[in-house]
């Protein structure tokens, strides 16, 4: 698996299975949630494989729980590896988070404290996961609503050091940077500037809900102006990085998401001359 510019993609959602297959919309690639397809067969698997015939795919997991103090879930990793072999994605990602402890799963992406103990723990587990899978994986920066008193390292330095030590790559969620920067009062540009640009293989864009004194990463709205601005500044510094829009709730008809994806294309092509060919004026 290597960094390549796949173009502009969407998260593949059940609501759009039929339209994607029937209409072959102008999406360069799709991201699929790994756990949704860790099943034996049936309609979801059928659509997955049919759509895979026509589009590049990447896999995005929510259950690796790399930061948990529970042992790594070998059964989950085996099923993940089986799906990777089945789907041959361009790459595989999960989140810098923990999802549960003492065998109980919260089914949420919970933040880790940014300490040396957590860093050593996570790097050691990333080594095991990457060795088992046989390739590097991408870790997504979290959105978070709390900060721990134990944290002694800024999140961006923690992420950058984790990447340096483990060789993992970064899925940079620009909306998450914005959400956490608002919640914890830091500079989102400094966050993004902390990474080696070559380590960032993919970008997520999404919407959130603004409650004034805090912001929640809900993935149920269009991308807001502030996140678009942050994206454009980011992509201008990074160069072409595969970019996609994530929508998990209040999922609109496909044409609405395609229009939003076109906005990402336009903003990126405005700052990256190499992308301008083929982009409508």
């Amino acid at each position: 698996m290597k960094r390549e510019f796949l173009g502009f993609g969407l998260g593949l959602r059940t609501d759009h299975f039929h339209d994607v297959l029937a209409e072959r919309p102008p999406v360069d690639w799709f991201e699929v949630i790994s756990e949704n397809f860790m099943i034996e067969g049936g309609k979801p698997k059928y659509y997955l494989h049919e759509i895979r015939q026509h589009y590049p795919m990447v896999m995005h997991g929510v259950s690796l729980s790399i930061g948990s103090t529970d042992p790594l879930n070998r059964d989950y990793l085996t099923r993940l590896k089986r799906l990777i072999q089945e789907l041959e994605p361009a790459w595989v990602s999960d989140h810098l988070c923990w999802t549960g402890v003492n065998k109980v799963n919260s089914h949420d992406l919970l933040p880790v404290p940014y300490t040396e103990e957590a860093l050593n723990h996570i790097v050691s587990r990333l080594d095991q996961v990457q060795e088992f899978l046989g390739h590097p994986i991408l870790m997504e920066n979290p959105s978070s609503y709390v900060e721990f008193t134990d944290s002694s390292i800024p999140e961006w330095e923690f992420m950058a050091e984790m990447v340096r030590r483990s060789g993992c790559k970064v899925l940079l969620d620009v909306n998450n940077v914005y959400v956490s920067a608002r919640n914890h009062n830091y500079d989102p540009h400094a966050y993004i500037g902390a990474f080696d640009p070559e380590s960032i293989w993919q970008i997520h864009l999404a919407g959130h809900t603004d409650y004034g004194t805090y912001v929640i990463d809900t993935h149920d709205h269009p991308v807001c102006d502030a996140v678009w601005e942050l994206y454009q500044t980011t992509i201008a510094k990074l160069g072409p990085v595969s970019t996609m829009i994530e929508r998990d709730d209040h999922i609109p008809p496909l044409p609405e998401l395609l229009a939003e994806l076109d906005q990402a294309r336009q903003l990126a092509s405005a700052v990256l001359p190499e992308l301008r060919e083929g982009i409508p004026a």
Binding site: M38, G41, G42, S151, Y214
Partner: protein, 267 residues
């Protein structure tokens, strides 16, 4: 215990609504206070689990009504926290919970209705296998038929309940008033058809005996012998092959092994 483990246990306890000690764990920041911020995770947890049970037990929920279904969901979330990596499996223990817990256990049909909804889901995403057609059966030399066994599509399941819960499910699905509860001993068969749609229908006494016989691994001769204990030879002669054709047409059969060293398997 490591600081990391302690932190995770306390935060998880808070999220699950259990006694926890989160004092001093969190930095006070600008804007919302730490309890509000931690509450976002508690809320996310409850919403995700409630949503999946609402979706996966849609008909059960409508049958029970919000006044009974909502406390059932709250009780289940508290008693059976998820140990699964996929939310798809979170409701696996709902039938058992309904069987063991007051006041739900006083309405034994609830557990069977839940079991039926789970069985539909299991057929929906069971493994895919190519299916045989009636022409495949006809291609097997007749002298090999007595020794022939059947292998069924992975989505095929038998469902039996002591109550008319399938009829209740059907009425609610059709947005009609459910029938009164009655006892019954019908056997239903669930499967996913070639168009990947989940189907189910009741099986006659004859079909039940046949299906149970083949699923136990008996060959055609053995199944015919079992049928002979309950049905007259002319009934068996008239219906046995016809029933096999019905199954093949419905896409239930994936292999017809015989002991002649051949195993006819769909490719």
């Amino acid at each position: 215990m490591s600081d990391l483990k302690h932190l995770q246990e306390q935060m998880m306890a808070f999220i699950m609504g259990q006694p926890s000690s989160t004092d001093g764990l969190l930095k006070e920041g600008q804007g919302a206070d730490t309890q509000t911020r931690l509450g976002i995770y508690r809320n996310n947890y409850l919403c995700a689990l409630r949503d999946v049970l609402d979706t996966d037990f849609d008909i059960l929920g409508r049958y029970m009504g919000d006044e009974l279904f909502d406390p059932m969901i709250e009780g289940y979330i508290e008693t059976c926290p998820s140990q699964y990596t996929s939310l798809r499996d979170f409701g696996n223990q709902i039938p058992q919970f309904l069987t063991e817990t007051e006041p739900f256990k006083n309405y034994p049909q609830l557990a069977h209705l839940a079991r039926f909804e789970r069985a539909l889901m299991d057929s929906f995403d069971a493994a895919d296998r190519p299916r045989l057609a009636r022409s495949d059966l006809m291609a097997i030399p007749q002298e090999q038929w007595p020794n022939m066994t059947l292998r069924f599509h992975p989505s095929l399941q038998r469902f039996q309940a002591p109550y008319n819960v399938v009829e209740i499910w059907q009425a609610i699905k059709a947005e009609q008033h459910p029938p009164d509860l009655t006892t019954q001993a019908a056997m239903w068969v669930l499967w996913r058809n070639a168009e990947r749609l989940t189907e189910f229908r009741s099986a006659s006494d004859f079909e039940q005996l046949m299906l149970n016989g083949f699923l136990s691994g008996n060959n055609l001769a053995g199944v015919a012998e079992q049928l002979a204990a309950s049905f007259a030879p002319d009934v068996i002669a008239a219906h046995l092959v016809e029933q096999l054709f019905t199954w093949l047409d419905a896409g239930w059969v994936i292999a017809l092994p015989t002991d002649a060293g051949t195993e006819l398997t769909a490719v």
